[in-house]
């Protein structure tokens, strides 16, 4: 079987709020001193794919794919250090914040190219959303571009008899589904797909694994629309919200008095709900 995992490189989302700044011209976050990292849900997707390969007894080849800047090679190397078999980087050319339509078209073209060369991907895994913009539309758009059925918020894949068993999270609990390949899933996190730490030996081995680089021209994609990267939506405005509310702190000489005030305020709100 063949499994593809899509990765996105993002600004480290754990940058503290006090260090977070907006670049008004770029209508995006200023990088500042922040690191670039692999989006966490994408790493959960890598881990989920690796566990699927282990459960299937090894006869699964995993490919990582990224549409990004040249720095995104680090994400792909790390995925290969986690023991993904091979990787492909489609180098971004133009807009630094392409919309989901542009990303979906590029990823779909790359997937078709990789499939021509090495056979169809039975499963395509995409993180449910990114830790930067968090719009969470890429998986759905890619499923449509590829014309494949899809399921969102999946936490594990298990090999079945000709099909793959999926477990996914919903508002009210867990759903189990049977999927006939080829299909696409978006991956969410749970306690079992925390990304593994690569072993030193695997980190060294990752540099011997194949990392293919493709340009938009290689994929016969050079329409202005993809280069502009905003055919369906674009950021009109971005700002850091002002701290709006003034907190009224309980006052008083004794703890008793202060807690009394708090109880009164809480009771007022509770009583107003009725």
């Amino acid at each position: 079987m063949r499994v593809l995992v899509c990765l996105k490189q993002i600004l480290d989302p754990d940058v503290p709020a006090r260090d977070f700044q907006i670049d008004p011209d770029a209508r995006a976050a200023r990088r500042g001193g922040a690191n670039l990292v692999t989006n966490i849900f994408c790493e959960n997707a890598v881990e989920t794919a690796l566990q699927f390969r282990e459960a299937a007894g090894g006869d699964v080849k995993i490919t990582a794919l990224c549409y990004g800047e040249s720095s995104a090679e680090d994400c792909l190397r790390k995925a290969m250090a986690m023991t993904v078999d091979e990787a492909c980087l489609v180098e971004r050319d133009g807009n630094t914040n392409p919309d989901a339509a542009a990303v979906g078209r590029v990823l779909a073209a790359a997937i078709r190219r990789l499939e021509q060369d090495g056979g169809a991907f039975d499963a395509v895994l995409v993180g449910r959303e990114s830790g930067d913009w968090g719009v969470g539309q890429t998986g759905g758009v890619l499923a449509e571009e590829l014309g494949r059925p899809a399921l969102g918020f999946v936490e594990s894949l298990q090999p079945g008899n000709g099909s793959v068993t999926l477990r996914r999270q919903t508002d009210v609990g867990i759903e189990v589904a049977e999927a006939e390949p080829p299909f696409l899933v978006t991956i969410t996190n749970n306690e079992d797909n925390v990304p593994r730490i690569p072993k030193t030996r695997d980190v060294m081995m990752s540099y011997r694994k194949p990392l293919q680089k493709l340009s938009l021209a290689d994929l016969e994609l050079d329409s202005e629309e993809i280069r502009a990267g905003s055919s369906i939506f674009e950021v009109e405005e971005i700002f850091i919200p002002a701290d709006e509310v003034e907190c009224e702190l309980a006052e008083g000489d004794t703890l008793e008095e202060r807690v009394d005030q708090l109880a009164t305020r809480i009771h007022e709100v509770v009583a107003s709900i009725g």
């Binding site: 930067d132 758009v141 919200p241 708090l262 709100v269």
Partner: protein
């Protein structure tokens, strides 16, 4: 003529989220001088259809029995066909924020040749484009997106919108029979998580605990407080990740997005990803030892004190008031 559609799942009924989505839809329809239509995926209870008809100008129900049991591929096919059955002249198709709507929205937009957007907290038309406001960078920023193609297919932070007002006369209800293919991904089983009381997303009052509690035991103390005011219990990511409470208690960017009348944050510092989950709360109260904790910039009232000293006393006082 430009209309607005709200697309709901029949099985979920006319819940608070659907009410909010319909409310947002009515406001948008008024702004473009059009009608509000409800597109219902799958059979719904009579009272849910009646409730939709009381707020919408037209209700189109995809009534196939097969749609009673949600399957993503079929729900998507249904939404696409309901869009056409309703007339198709929509500037926007609005959805709620349940799991199913979230996974349908981008694919429906693609099939309709429109623009998709997720988790919008405010929407308005600007000429032919819809502007959608939402959080970005894990709650550290607010972004406004311009959706360039019609229809704008948007799932909303639905409980944050006022419910749709009733109309003087009920909208016409049209059941339609849809052509559905056998799905290639089939949901075969559901394990509904055990949950006492109402879902966190629908709770009116929530008492949440965080990392500062230091372990699972203090949540028992918080339960007494919650019980005294009829609240549900939630938690921060730190408390869930530590295994102190179940993962479905988590309020935050990767957990539940809640919208209670009152949210009490106890020993929660207020990381931006947590604020993102509780941001739609009407009133927030905080109990924390650190006066500089970010939570105090996002609450109406609070107390700078160790929860250990405050919670038992507070519970006692609230119990006394209740009697």
């Amino acid at each position: 003529m430009a209309n607005v559609a709200v697309c709901v799942l029949g099985s979920l009924g006319y819940d608070r989220a659907a009410q909010g989505a319909a409310g947002a839809g009515r406001a948008l329809a008024e702004s473009v001088g059009g009608e509000l239509h409800a597109l219902v995926i799958g059979p719904a209870e009579d009272n849910a259809v009646a409730a939709l008809a009381s707020v919408a100008d037209r209700v189109v129900v995809g009534a196939n029995e097969a749609l009673r049991d949600y399957q993503p591929e079929q729900a998507l096919q249904a939404a696409e066909q309901l869009h056409a059955a309703g007339g198709g002249d929509y500037v926007a198709v609005l959805l709620s924020n349940d799991t199913y709507s979230q996974e349908i929205a981008p694919r429906l937009a693609h099939r309709l040749g429109g623009s998709s957007m997720a988790d919008a907290a405010a929407i308005r038309m600007d000429g032919d484009h819809l502007l959608a406001q939402r959080t970005a960078y894990g709650g550290k920023a607010i972004s406004i997106y311009r959706l360039k193609k019609q229809p704008a297919v948007v799932w909303l932070r639905a409980r944050g919108f006022e419910p749709a007002p009733e109309q003087p006369s009920a909208g016409e209800v049209t059941p339609v029979d849809l052509a559905l293919d056998a799905p290639r991904i089939r949901i075969t089983g559901r394990e509904v998580a055990e949950q006492e009381g109402v879902r966190l997303e629908d709770a009116q009052i929530i008492v949440s605990g965080g990392r500062g509690l230091g372990g699972p035991e203090p949540f028992q103390e918080l339960k007494k407080l919650a019980d005294s005011i009829g609240a549900e219990q939630g938690a921060s990511r730190a408390a869930c990740d530590a295994g102190w409470v179940p993962p479905n208690w988590q309020v935050g960017q990767t957990g539940k997005k809640v919208a209670p009348e009152l949210y009490i944050a106890i020993a929660i510092s207020g990381a931006s990803q947590h604020l993102l989950g509780m941001g739609d709360s009407k009133v927030v109260a905080a109990i924390n030892t650190d006066a500089d904790a970010p939570i105090f910039k996002h609450c109406s009232f609070g107390i700078v004190e160790d929860y250990k000293a405050v919670v038992p006393l507070l519970t006692e006082k609230l119990q006394a008031i209740a009697r």
